[in-house]
Symmetry: C2
Subunit: 393 residues, 2 copies
C-alpha cells in the first residue's frame, strides 16, 4: 500500500464472536492534517462525541476503530471507555492523546469489553509492522459481506501521491451524514482549511446520496488524514492541483458509497434514482430520496416488478413541486410514463426486462425546471428483514 | 344495520380476480350533509380530484367505490372514467351527479375496465334492497385480511342515532392523510360547518397517527355522511350533544385506524409508540413517527428483539430536541433505559418477554417538557416483503 508514512494493523480483540478481526489501527508517522464529518443524530455514540471535539484542531495521527460494539447509549462509562481506548493507543504509539480518533460500530447500548481491548492494544500496535489497510477494512465489517476499499494515484506539481479509502456500511445507511464509517488516508500535503471544505462537499456528493434503509446511525464517522509525506508542494484552494485532488477524492468517496449500496443489507439490486426537470435541486433531492426510501418501491424492485405507479406516488408525497400530468418515467432507456400516464404498447414487457437486471436506473423527469439529483439505493428483500430481525442474536 | 335512511350494496364487477366483491355502493335516501379528507399526495388519483371538487358543496348522497384498480396516473381517460362511473350511478339512483362521490383503490396506472363497470352498476343499484354495510366493507378490501367496521349508538336530546364506519388499509399507510379509504355514515342531524371541522380533527387523531410502511397513497379518502334521518335536533358546535358526537366519532375512527394497523401488510405485532416529556407536541409527534417508520426498529419487533438502541437512534434523528443523557425507555412496564443508558439487571430478559407479546407499548420519556404523542404501528416481516414484491402478479 503505497501511501507514504501510513501504517496499518488489525487484530482479533474478541469484541465480536471469535475468529473475526474486530480492532483496527491507522497510524501516520507524522501528525496529519485532518478533517471529519460526523452523524447528525442527536443520540451520538461516545467516540463521536470525543471525535467531534478533537477534530476541531484539524490534526490527527491515529485512528483506532472497533466493530461489534457501537459504544452508544453507554453514558459516562462509555465516554470513559472511549477516552481510555484512546489513551492506551496513544501510549502504545508514543504520541499525544489528542491526535487519536476513536470509532466504534456494532450493537448499541452495551459497554465495551475493556479488559479485552486492554489486552489487545499492544498486539494492535505491534501489528503495524506487518499490517495493511485491507486488514483494517475487514476489521470494521459488521453485516457487510465484502470489505470496501478504493485507491487512486494522482500527481501534484509532478509529485505522485495516493488517496486510499475504506468504508463499512450495510445497515442504518441514510443521510444526513456520512452514515457509516469511512477512513481516507493520503500522503498528499493539503492546506487544512480547504481540506475541511472539500471533504465536507465530497461527503455530500457521495455518502449523503445513498440510502439503504432510511435510518441514520448514532456512530457515522468519515475521516480524512493528509500527512504530506509524498513531498508535494501543499495543495491550496483555487489551483489546478486542488481541482485534481477534489475530483479524485470525490471519486474515491463515491466509489466507496456505491460499494456500500451494493452491499446493502440483503440487497439484490443496485438502483440509480435520477430526478430531472425539478423546479430546484432541493426538490430533485427530496423526490429522489422519497423514491429511494419507499418500502413499497424497494419491495417492487426486489420482486422485479415494473411497478412505476409506486414511484410516481413516492414522488407525489416527497414534498417536491409536481404536476402529475407532465411526469415522464424511464427504466433504463425504456419509457414507461409520458404526461403522467402509462406509455402502453410493449413497455410493460420491456420494463420488466430492465427490472430483472442486477443494476438499473430509474429516471423521472418532472418537466418543471432544471433541478437534477441522483441517489443510489438497493431493494428491500427477505434477507434484509432476516438480518435485522436477528441482528443481536 | 340501524343507520336510518342508508342502504348498501356490493357486487362482483370483475375488476379484481373473479370470486371477490369489488364494487360497493353507499346510498342515503335523502341528500346528506357531508365532509371529506383526501390524500396530500401531489399525484392524486382521478376519483380524488373529482371528490375534492364535489365535497366543497358539503353534500353527498351516494358513494361508489371499487377495489382492484386505483384509477391513478390514468390522465384524462381516468377523469372521464371516474365521471362516467358517477353518472351511471346517479342515473341508476335517480339523483344528481354532483352528490355522488367516487373512490377507487388498487393497482396504480391501469385504466378502469369500464365495460365491466357499466354492466355491474344496474346490479349494484338493485342490490340496495338487500345489501349491508358489511358487504361494502368486504368489497373495498385489497390486501386486507379482514373487513374493518365499527358501530356506535348514541343519543342527542334523547333521540338515538348511530355512527357506523368501514375502512380499508393494509399497505401505503402513513400520514399525512386519511391514508386509506374510510366511509362513515350517521343518521344524526349535524351542522355542516362543524361536521367538517370535527371530522378533520378526528382524522388527525386516528388515521394520521398510524403508520404501516411510511408510504402515502394517491387515493386516500375519508368521507362522512350525516343524513339527519334519526330525527334529532341538529347537533351544533359548543353543546353537550356535540361533545358526545365528537367523542363517539373519534372512537369509531380510532377503532378503524387500529384495525388497519393490526391488519398491516404482514404484521405480526401491534405496537403503541408513546413519546412523553418532549419540548412540544410537534417534537413528540416527530419522534413517535420516526420510531414507527424505522425499518430497523420494525424488523427488531418482528424478530422479538428488545433492541432499544435502535429506538433511541430513531428518536435521535427524528428532528425532535433530545438530551441523550436524560432519556427513559419502557417496553410495557419494563424500564430498559434510564438517563440514556441500559438499566441492566434482568431488564433484557424481562424486555424480551414483552416483545414476545402480540401487542405491546413502547414508551420513551425525553424528560424535557410536557409534549406527548402516541402513534400505532406494526412490525416489518418477511410477509410484508412477499406481499409487496408480488402485488401485481
Amino acid at each position: 500500500m503505497p501511501v507514504k508514512g501510513f501504517k496499518f494493523s488489525a487484530v482479533e480483540a474478541a469484541v465480536k464472536k471469535p475468529g473475526r478481526l474486530d480492532l483496527g489501527l491507522i497510524f501516520s508517522e507524522v501528525p496529519a492534517v485532518a478533517a471529519g464529518v460526523f452523524t447528525t443524530n442527536k443520540v451520538k455514540a461516545a467516540p463521536v462525541v470525543l471525535g467531534i471535539e478533537r477534530i476541531k484542531d484539524g490534526l490527527c495521527q491515529a485512528i483506532v476503530v472497533n466493530s461489534g460494539n457501537a459504544n452508544a447509549c453507554t453514558g459516562i462509562r462509555g465516554m470513559d471507555d472511549a477516552r481510555e481506548t484512546s489513551r492506551l493507543v496513544a501510549e502504545g504509539l508514543g504520541i499525544a492523546d489528542e491526535v487519536v480518533q476513536v470509532a466504534s460500530t456494532g450493537v448499541i447500548g452495551q459497554v465495551l469489553p475493556m479488559e479485552r481491548l486492554r489486552a489487545a492494544v499492544p498486539k494492535l500496535v505491534e501489528g503495524l509492522e506487518s499490517g495493511s489497510l485491507d486488514g483494517v477494512s475487514r476489521a470494521i465489517m459488521t453485516t457487510d459481506t465484502f470489505a470496501k476499499m478504493e485507491i487512486r494515484q494522482c500527481e501534484a506539481a509532478g509529485v505522485p501521491y495516493t488517496i486510499a479509502g475504506i468504508a463499512k456500511g450495510a445497515g442504518m445507511i441514510m443521510p444526513n451524514m456520512a452514515t457509516m464509517l469511512a477512513f481516507i488516508v493520503t500522503d498528499a500535503a493539503v492546506e487544512q482549511s480547504w481540506l475541511k471544505k472539500v471533504f465536507s462537499e465530497s461527503n455530500d456528493a457521495s455518502f449523503n446520496i445513498i440510502s439503504v434503509d432510511g435510518d441514520t446511525s448514532t456512530n457515522d464517522t468519515s475521516l480524512i488524514l493528509a500527512n504530506g509525506m509524498a513531498g508535494n508542494p501543499t495543495i491550496r484552494e483555487g489551483t489546478g492541483d486542488a481541482e485534481t485532488f477534489r475530483s479524485q477524492l470525490q471519486a474515491v468517496l463515491l466509489a466507496l458509497a456505491q460499494q456500500i449500496v451494493r452491499d446493502g443489507e440483503g440487497a439484490t439490486k443496485f438502483v440509480e434514482i435520477s430526478i430531472k426537470g425539478a423546479q430546484s435541486v432541493a426538490d430533485a433531492k427530496k423526490a429522489a430520496m422519497a423514491v429511494a426510501n419507499s418500502s413499497l418501491v424497494k419491495t417492487a424492485f426486489f420482486g422485479q416488478d415494473a411497478n412505476w405507479g409506486r414511484i410516481l406516488a413516492a414522488v407525489g408525497y416527497s414534498g417536491a413541486e409536481v404536476d402529475a400530468d407532465r411526469i415522464e418515467l424511464f427504466f433504463d432507456d425504456v419509457q414507461m410514463v409520458r404526461n403522467g400516464v402509462f406509455t402502453g404498447g410493449n413497455a410493460e414487457e420491456k420494463g420488466s426486462e430492465v427490472l430483472k437486471r442486477k443494476e438499473f436506473a430509474v429516471t423521472v423527469d418532472l418537466k418543471l425546471g432544471q433541478g437534477e439529483a441522483t441517489v443510489y439505493t438497493s431493494d428491500l428483500s427477505y434477507e434484509y428483514v432476516k438480518i435485522n430481525a436477528d441482528y443481536r442474536t
